[in-house]
Subunit: 366 residues, 2 copies
């Protein structure tokens, strides 16, 4: 088992990474402060892993464990679903000393984390991410929240867990489309800040897609290290943390245009990263070969390399203008100075931006 | 104008106290970071003070100010009302750099503060409390939140404002019943930690009720100092801050039993403080004269000195057991060692507690 520490002063916490962790009896016990737990999961993950987690928790028979199974999917990441968690906590009379455990993907983690941040003004919280995407991204860094009909993740809080448990074995039951979506965020870390990791991914992308446990463990570890480093330097996204949004300004617009959940988040980010690479090339920062190289890796991971047809440049502009990354009316883009070196830019030549927004299948092929 | 600082490290902020502050042009401008503001108020306060506040803000013509008028009352302190604030913020495309200003009493402040804590994971926030209760209590200390049908303030966050503006002149339009309810919290500070202030209140209670501006300014200042001191020592209520809940364990049960809003919060706390004094006397901590003295001051302020008839001891126990102050299934009480010296206790003789819960009009008359 690998153990990584996210350094946030009194809010520091460990990430445990490796195969077979959920089967380890009592592994989470040191991170549970009180005597009660509410496990929040979803109807897809519950039949697969809830029993394992409960068995591990019940090693300590004094622990009183309740469970709540929510419907799955991005369209359920709403205030209405959040209210179901509050209802259950109050019906079962959970106190301030309770611990919420999120067992599931990013949606489950984000909504459970926000419930933990706001139930009785804050209770303890543990993440057990069961998708590659949530293991490398959403479970680390303390962003929690729900969507609003007018914007994704518009309601939320920064709130750190006591611990994150990333069991690599659970990835074996992940649908291939979700594994691919997770690889989009893996590729993101390479493109934004780790050229060496980019080369490693170009060597191993097919083996990762095939589910190689040792390689996946290594990839999750590197991604968590990259994210932990960036989050430790900028917990509340005053500056550098925004780099983690590479591909997300475009990606969120795609998700909103398609209706949340029709494109997976990782798929939208993948297309968004190709758009970011394309715009970076039009700005003269990366050359045509580098742009093509970014696109090629994303394609090899089985991910979309352009936005769905039918989103006009005007619709993109409108959707991007409600993004949280907007400052003083200006959309902020995360772009590539080089492969492995991203920067934050809000003064972008509108004509070049329009070209990227209209390029469709020709992105990174100029 | 008096200026008090709440010392919370990088989250420190000033409280401005005095008559005529809302009429001062530009008084809030130094505390607004961006160029946009959403003023959230309610339909009772808006006709009285919204114009004044807008005039003061419009001293800076570059500031873009939107307003949202909510329905008033404790029964509106819900997730549904909170959603109206999110809707407005997104409809008007407010960004992370926006500032929310709460103009109103505790309900408006709590719900607006929670919206600020959670919109885009946190935006700036200013409190302009317009009731005595919110000036001395709810606007200071960073507790924000909404009620759940199964419990008051069960959903919320600790979130500090940039500034609190307490204009004493606005108290002149306050219905006498609300002024009385505010005096309950004023008396609370004296009973829990300031015997000298208790003697001062016994001298001036009728003049305060009559709306004497100089005395009210003095009282608000002392209460804010007391609260600021306690909050600075224990921002997230790990310990001593719980003393501020004197009268609240009983009071919340009364509010819940009567339906939120039928008894004012201050009225319920007043009866709760008499119950706390009664129980403290039964425990042998304060003598009969001291208990009677607490009751007498509360009565002189025109406040209830016993719970409404018809709440059984069993109902009290059940309602108190969902209070946020419950730890490991034990209800925690704030009781009086002496007048001006409160303590936190959870090991209470059940028979004595039952006597207090059943005493009705005979509280503090043993």
């Amino acid at each position: 088992m690998l153990k990584l520490d996210v350094e946030l002063g009194e809010r520091s916490y460990p990430i445990l990474i490796g195969p077979g962790l959920l089967a380890q009896s009592g592994i989470l016990r040191p991170y549970i402060k009180g005597s009660r737990v509410l496990v929040v999961t979803n109807d897809v993950v519950a039949p697969l892993y809830l029993e394992n987690l409960l068995a591990s928790l019940q090693q300590d028979s004094s622990l009183q464990v309740d469970t709540l199974v929510l419907p799955d999917g991005e369209h359920c990441k709403t205030l209405a679903t959040l209210q179901l968690i509050y209802d259950e906590l109050l019906r079962q009379r959970h106190e301030r000393s309770t611990t919420l455990i999120a067992l599931g993907g990013g949606v489950t983690g984000d909504i459970t984390g926000f419930a933990a941040a706001t139930y009785q003004r804050g209770v303890n919280f543990i993440q057990v991410p069961t998708t590659l995407l949530s293991q490398v991204d959403s479970s680390v860094g303390g962003k929690t929240g729900v969507n609003h009909p007018l914007g994704k993740n518009m309601i939320g809080a920064f709130y750190q867990p006591q611990c994150v448990l990333a069991d690599i074995d659970v990835l074996s039951t992940l649908p291939v489309r979700e594994l691919q979506a997770g690889l989009a965020e893996v590729i993101k870390y390479a493109l934004l800040g780790n050229h060496e990791f980019l080369v490693w991914l170009e060597q191993h992308i097919e083996a990762l897609l095939a589910g190689d446990t040792a390689l996946l463990t290594q990839a999750v570890k590197i991604c968590c290290e990259e994210k932990a480093r960036i989050v430790a330097a900028d917990e509340r996204e005053g500056g550098k943390r925004a780099l983690l949004n590479l591909g997300h300004t475009f990606g969120h617009a795609i998700e909103a245009a398609m209706g949340y959940g029709n494109w997976l988040h990782g798929e939208a980010v993948a297309a968004g990263m190709v758009m970011a690479a394309d715009l970076s090339h039009r700005l003269g920062w990366i050359n045509a070969d580098e742009a093509a190289r970014a696109r090629a890796l994303i394609a090899r991971a089985g991910l979309p390399v352009c936005p769905p047809p039918g989103i006009s440049a005007e619709q993109f502009m409108s959707l991007m203008s409600v993004d949280k990354k907007v400052q003083s009316g200006k959309v902020r883009f995360i772009l590539l100075r080089r492969l492995g070196d991203a920067v934050i830019e809000s003064d972008i030549d509108t004509a070049l931006l329009q070209q990227t927004l209209s390029a469709g299948a020709d992105l990174c092929r100029s």
